[in-house]
């Protein structure tokens, strides 16, 4: 039971919680800006999950310096691959958010409304 209070378990739990919050926001909110914010929350939660999965307890950042020598790096560093993934994911997240906001702006200029209910041209 006590293991659930370790940092990686807390981070994974918070990541899944934020994922659910963001998903709820996307499917229940009607304002387009709020949906974009929910998308941002999901983005952040995935970053938290990825970093937590790469984390190994009592180990340090994957950088070789005076604290970590080349020879015993395998036993002293955390996983560098998820960190590289998160690095790229953050930048892609920024781009997608900017793109979503641009589409929201275009929609707003057409119908003067940010409520998703007003846009029913694709509804059957």
């Amino acid at each position: 039971m006590i293991q659930y209070l370790e940092i990686e378990y807390i981070t994974v739990f918070a990541g899944f919680l934020l994922l659910m919050v963001g998903l709820w926001g996307i499917i229940s909110q009607k304002n387009i800006i709020k949906m974009i914010i929910s998308f941002g929350i999901i983005d952040t939660s995935i970053h938290m999950l990825l970093v937590a999965i790469g984390y190994i307890r009592n180990r340090t950042a994957p950088i070789i310096d005076s604290a970590v020598s080349k020879s015993d790096a395998v036993d002293q560093i955390t996983d560098p691959v998820p960190q590289a993934l998160v690095l790229t994911a953050i930048v892609i997240g920024v781009g997608i958010t900017a793109l979503l906001l641009t589409y929201a702006l275009k929609l707003f200029r057409q119908n003067k409304s940010l409520e998703i209910n007003q846009y029913n041209s694709l509804k059957w």
């Binding site: 370790e6 190994i56 997608i96 793109l99 409304s113």
Partner: protein
């Protein structure tokens, strides 16, 4: 109708929560590196010459993915420009003069923040940081510049030029890797240098500086596009 909608919402959220809870229950913290990560940790410093292993993964081992990612960012900036530039007309908002405090503070801060950004991406192979982070810092100076001289129009020319030159050089270095070294984006085209020093890691500092310039220019282009399209009739009636 509302009851139906809410119950459907509850079912979807409930199912997803159950799935996520099972994933969380099965999660077990790791105690050792897996095979790929062990390879990077053992061979990475000697093969690439970069002290920061995340950088050696991003720039060398998975360099092609980074090229693709920079391309995605470029496409985003291009699509935003395409969507917003078609409707520029006379109805733009006249912005009021920036305050004296903001202008003075911007004059002091812009050189310093630019310096920090350049430091972050030049030292990307030694310390935490790199092209993407440094580029984001450069874009933040651009925001400060934009709000401190809100009266003046800023052209796209310099940003587009920086973006094009750095992107072209990035691909050119990758192709040089095919000719002079083992493959595309191989960093051995320059000597590896002394481990842990600024001029080490072969072409990694050069590639990461180019990525930094490119990311900074692309984010600045997005900000500039989004800034220049405010109009008088953009209010909810």
């Amino acid at each position: 109708m509302k009851i139906l909608r809410n119950s459907l919402l509850l079912v979807v959220i409930g199912t997803m929560t159950w799935m996520m809870f099972n994933l969380y229950k099965d999660y077990d913290s790791r105690t050792t590196l897996n095979e790929t990560a062990s390879y990077y940790a053992e061979k990475g410093p000697d093969e690439t010459g970069a002290a920061n292993l995340v950088t050696s993964v991003v720039v060398t081992y998975r360099g092609l993915d980074t090229l693709g990612e920079v391309t995605i960012l470029f496409l985003t900036a291009a699509i935003i420009g395409l969507l917003l530039r078609t409707e520029k007309d006379s109805k733009t908002v006249p912005l009021r003069q920036s305050s004296e405090f903001l202008i003075t503070a911007a004059k002091v801060l812009i050189p310093m923040i630019t310096l920090i950004g350049v430091y972050i991406f030049i030292n990307g192979h030694l310390t935490p940081g790199g092209g993407f982070q440094g580029g984001a810092v450069l874009a933040s100076t651009f925001i400060l510049l934009l709000i401190s001289i809100s009266q003046r129009k800023i052209g796209h020319r310099l940003l587009e030029f920086t973006e094009a030159i750095s992107g072209f050089s990035f691909v050119l270095i990758g192709i040089l890797g095919i000719i002079l070294a083992a493959g595309f984006l191989d960093n051995h085209i320059l000597p590896l240098g002394k481990f842990g020093h600024l001029l080490s890691g072969g072409a990694i500092p050069v590639i990461y500086s180019l990525i930094g310039l490119k990311v900074g220019a692309e984010l600045s282009t997005i900000i500039l596009e989004l800034n220049q399209i405010q109009r008088k009739d953009d209010t909810i009636s």
